[in-house]
């Protein structure tokens, strides 16, 4: 298969089309807008549903409705828009309908700016809206990976009747890289037993997040928790780079991991045995893998485009086994390999100081 040059946002859109996207509802926001624009052109041309809603609040509720009919449905936005969608997402989680979202993260809090960021980590991975739910969150570090994760996201959402969020940052959305676009899929529509398709000739179905009886709501929450345990068992994804003999590991996701990748290579050239651990699934977080890693290395460096959000999950996994240092930039600033390398070098000095 030949490679083509794709921009991240457009690659996400095309991969969604090829995965059988049937309906899109969204509202434009930089740095995600090319995704919506691309689908605006393509969805209607191929007889699918596309609505530019009046707001993100409207868009997510349209998504909720379409998902309730069993359609392959998605929306996309960027950080402030994701905040507006949180109520709808909580209802969607409470109703167990499969939904896919893309968040092309930008600088916050508030209106912040349009530059790349990773500061939605807490909101995305810990639930975001009210109630005990946690969407599956996948963080691509390249345009190829963005397309591949998008392509598989609908199946994942279907499998668990749950929310899957592709969490990329502005740089992944705007960057162009050569990729192999996955092929168009043909989907066979079959009744899965829950979707609202008209009750003629069958018992009626109800999609709702209301459980007025405490015991019933408790039972539902236990069901969601069981689903989380299954997701944690089956869906952990990560990548290791030069970790086999590593004494020092950098932990980073998305764009931050790209800078870390370069810095690790430079560190190796300086005879520092560094490697990179890159979580791809942010929820489920690769907890056990990091716990094991902490038993092999002398120290860890967490690099993020925020003030240390994934850092908390790394700390939970690593506990007090080895020292954990943090390097983060915010506001739309991006870590450069030149910035990460000295932080890796600090780990080696830390280590010497301790021994």
């Amino acid at each position: 298969m030949t490679k083509e040059l794709w921009k991240g946002n457009e690659a996400l859109a095309e991969a969604a089309l090829r995965a059988g996207l049937e309906a899109y509802f969204g509202y434009p926001i930089t740095p995600q807008t090319e995704l919506l624009e691309y689908l605006a052109k393509k969805m209607l041309a191929t007889g699918r549903a596309f609505v530019q809603a009046e707001s993100e609040v409207a868009a997510i509720n349209m998504v909720y409705g379409a998902a309730s009919t069993g359609a392959r449905v998605m929306s996309s936005s960027s950080s402030p828009g994701m905040s507006l969608m949180q109520e709808g997402l909580s209802y969607i989680a409470g109703s167990q309908v499969p939904v896919v979202l893309v968040d092309i993260m930008r600088g916050g809090p508030g209106l912040g700016n349009i530059a790349p960021s990773q500061s939605d980590y807490f909101q995305l991975t810990k639930g975001g809206g009210h109630g005990d739910y946690r969407p599956i969150v996948l963080a691509p570090a390249s345009v190829q990976e963005a397309a591949d994760l998008m392509y598989g996201a609908f199946d994942l959402a279907d499998k668990y009747r749950y929310i899957v969020i592709i969490a990329a940052d502005g740089n992944i959305g705007q960057m162009m890289e050569p990729i192999e676009m996955p092929p168009q899929r043909r989907l066979e529509k079959k009744d899965r037993g829950w979707e609202l398709t008209g009750a003629a000739g069958r018992p009626h179905r109800l999609i709702s997040s209301i459980y007025l009886q405490s015991e019933a709501l408790h039972q539902f929450n236990m069901h969601l928790q069981a689903k989380h345990r299954q997701i944690e068992q089956n869906e952990v994804r990560y990548e290791e780079y030069l970790l086999d003999d590593a004494e020092y590991a950098v932990v980073a996701f998305g764009s931050a991991a790209r800078a870390a990748h370069s810095a690790v290579r430079w560190a190796r050239a300086k005879n520092i045995r560094a490697g990179l651990f890159r979580p791809i699934s942010l929820y489920p977080f690769p907890h056990a893998q990091l716990t094991a890693l902490a038993q092999r290395v002398r120290a860890l460096l967490v690099v993020e485009m925020n003030t240390g959000q994934m850092l908390e999950d790394v700390r939970l996994a690593v506990a007090e086994r080895v020292p954990i240092q943090f390097y983060g930039v915010t506001g739309g600033l991006v870590p450069f390999a030149d910035d990460v390398l000295p932080e890796i070098e600090k780990l080696t000095r830390l280590d010497n100081g301790a021994s």
């Binding site: 490679k3 083509e4 040059l5 930089t30 740095p31 349009i114 530059a115 502005g170 740089n171 705007q174 960057m175 162009m176 890289e177 050569p178 790209r258 800078a259 870390a260 990748h261 370069s262 810095a263 690790v264 290579r265 991006v334 450069f336 390999a337 030149d338």
Partner: protein, 178 residues
């Protein structure tokens, strides 16, 4: 093999498109490549830049603090990137709009009167292509014939009539760096 190239100018000067030409060329030649724009609110008149990394290895960071080559199309871009070029690197200056002369002795500098050359050839919008030609001749990052193919494929319909002119502009730029 690693080229970390920044192209910077006013919005509307074609900095982003010039970078895409390089990215398509690198893809054509089978290299690893990334293209990333500064994507601020940069419409015509603002500043716009992009970074293109071309490598024979998997690319980590798509951004660089010290480019191995830069094309600066206006004065603000010159002032920003001239000090940042990696030692041994290449700086291509659009001398039609930038009067400054660099004092750096550790980089190669090409002063290309790109707007004048483009106008002389018959289309002032091709200044970006002249500058790309100069940069390619100085760095050897990609073959000129590859760029010809890329222009064949990617020049927009409304500039189609200027295809051959663009190829000439590329070589006029290249001649400045011989």
């Amino acid at each position: 093999m690693l080229h970390e190239i920044v192209i910077s100018g006013f919005g509307g000067q074609g900095a982003l498109f010039a970078g895409q030409l390089l990215a398509y060329g690198a893809l054509e030649e089978g290299w690893h490549v990334t293209w990333i724009p500064s994507y601020g609110p940069e419409m015509r008149g603002g500043t716009a830049n992009c970074t293109v990394i071309i490598s024979d290895e998997e690319i980590g960071s798509p951004l660089t603090r010290h480019p191995t080559a830069a094309i600066v199309m206006n004065l603000p871009s010159y002032e920003r990137f001239e000090p940042l070029i990696a030692p041994g690197g290449v700086l291509v200056v659009n001398a039609s709009l930038i009067a400054q002369k660099s004092q750096r002795a550790d980089i190669r500098i090409i002063y290309a009167p790109a707007n004048d050359i483009a106008a002389e050839l018959g289309a002032a919008q091709m200044a970006n292509v002249v500058l790309v030609g100069a940069m390619l001749a100085a760095t050897g990052a990609l073959q000129f014939e590859t760029l010809d193919q890329v222009l064949d494929k990617h020049i927009s319909a409304r500039h189609r009539d200027k295809l051959e002119l663009n190829k000439r502009a590329l070589r006029r730029g290249g001649a400045l760096a011989v």
